[in-house]
Amino acid sequence: MAERDRGSGSAPPSLPIVDFIEANAEKPDRAALILLSAVLFFSFFILLLPLSETVRRAGLRRFQLTRWPLAAWMLFQPTPSMYNFDNRWEVVRTRSDGACPETISGFINHHVYNRIALFDWRLHFRRCPLPAWVHFRSAYMGTVVETTYRLDSGPDQHGITVTPVAEP
């Protein structure tokens, strides 16, 4: 198969977007178009984040697992959102115990509920006195979403039970 000149000779390198359009005109590729459409669908919502208060609020709530129906949340899970938003958390306990300080606070990278669900944090909470209250605060361009969860020992002292604390 002949190598196409892509910047190594005098001809200017061709652009993949032009190549794609030409090749697709020769023979339409439904699978490629579906893949591109899916990317455009999710990109549309990403680009709406700075523009729409509704989308911002939904994006912040997606991280805190609040007010999203499970099916809709699952549909949007392929959205890339690495290290998105200004996410902070605070843990408050009624008593401290050795490696379990009365309060913990700091930043979270993304999907803030990972501080409860991630296995090493889960072990931390299990080993420390319960109940504990975990407060998440996510902010983006003036929109703020806050959620508090109460963590208790699970049934028969097995595991952890997480309950959203109603907002005042």
């Binding site: 198969m1 002949a2 190598e3 196409r4 892509r6 910047g7 390198p13 652009l15 993949p16 977007i17 190549d19 794609f20 090749a23 697709n24 590729d29 699978a31 490629a32 893949l35 899916a38 990317v39 999710f42 990109s43 990403i46 680009l47 700075p50 994006g59 697992l65 499970l70 949340w73 899970q77 392929p78 959205t79 890339p80 959102s81 690495m82 290290y83 998105n84 938003f85 200004d86 700091g106 930043f107 993304h110 999907h111 509920y113 409860i116 669900a117 991630l118 296995f119 889960r122 072990l123 299990r126 902010a139 983006y140 361009m141 699970g154 595991g159 952890i160 039970t161 997480v162 959203p164």
Partner: protein, 265 residues
């Protein structure tokens, strides 16, 4: 058959598959531990139904692709490629919604990379010459998309000031690069480095969202450099960096084998 004799679509497929397999191998112990803890310290919450809390589902979704990964790498027949592409995508799709793994960016990248594998194993093998002219755009679109998702969410005063990165990495993270920085520079300088690092990340990620408009060769080279940079500055980001590199290389392999329309007509 040597690597050079292997058709370009198959080579691109194998490179991307290899990058995902490397991640799966590197994280295997971690997911074994996660499965054990998911079983021994269950988390009952308001959101995840029982099936998405099942430790067996977590283990199956993580480990099952090994069954198709190794055979396809050893002998990449059309059937094996199709089966493996479907398996990678399905596995990542499950891990994206499981209580113990939904928050890892790994599975976002692998899910989309899996769809790219599905395309290569389908349309790519059916029309290999056209695939070499279509594939580079698909690879670059995915790369732009991933960086776009990272960039837009970082357009915040906190990231411009470097606060999250300072707190998450520079101030406490045990990774050698940050430990050395803490040992070498004073607190004020460390804070300043964190600010400029964070600003660089915001600017570079935003710029990377435009790689879809670049020629294939520079787009691939830049992507590999940026992904290596991610891995260098945060060692545990290999799980994201390697599949990004695999996608960039797959795009480059396809582009290098493309024939101009006149030659292929």
């Amino acid at each position: 058959m040597t690597w050079k004799d292997t058709p370009p679509v198959t080579r691109a497929f194998l490179v991307l598959t290899g990058s995902i397999l490397a991640v799966r191998l590197a994280l295997a112990r971690r997911y074994l531990v996660a499965t054990v803890i998911q079983a021994s310290v269950p988390l009952q919450d308001h959101f995840f139904p029982w099936v998405l809390r099942e430790p067996s589902l977590l283990a199956a979704a993580y480990f099952a692709p090994f069954c198709t990964e190794l055979p396809v790498l050893l002998r990449p027949s059309r059937r094996r490629m199709r089966r493996h592409a479907a398996m990678v995508t399905l596995s990542a799709g499950i891990l994206l919604v499981h209580q113990a793994s939904y928050f890892f960016a790994t599975w976002v990248i692998v899910f989309w990379a899996g769809l790219f594998l599905v395309w290569m194993a389908g349309s790519g093998l059916d029309e290999p010459e056209l695939a070499c002219r279509k594939g580079p755009l698909l690879a670059q679109t995915l790369i732009s998309f991933w960086f776009l998702g990272g960039a837009v969410g970082k357009w915040t005063p906190a990231y411009w000031a470097g606060e999250p990165y300072y707190d998450l990495f520079f101030a406490h993270h045990p990774y050698v690069a940050y430990a050395l920085l803490r040992a070498w520079v004073d607190a004020g300088t460390l804070r300043s480095i964190a600010t400029w690092f964070s600003r660089s990340v915001v600017v570079i990620e935003t710029a990377m969202a435009f790689t879809v408009f670049l020629p294939a060769r520079p787009a691939s080279a830049i992507t590999v450099l940026v992904a290596l940079g991610m891995w260098l500055f945060a060692g545990d980001l290999f799980d994201v960096a390697w599949p990004i590199i695999g996608t960039a290389l797959a795009g480059r392999i396809l582009s290098g084998a493309a024939t101009p329309p006149a030659a292929s007509a």
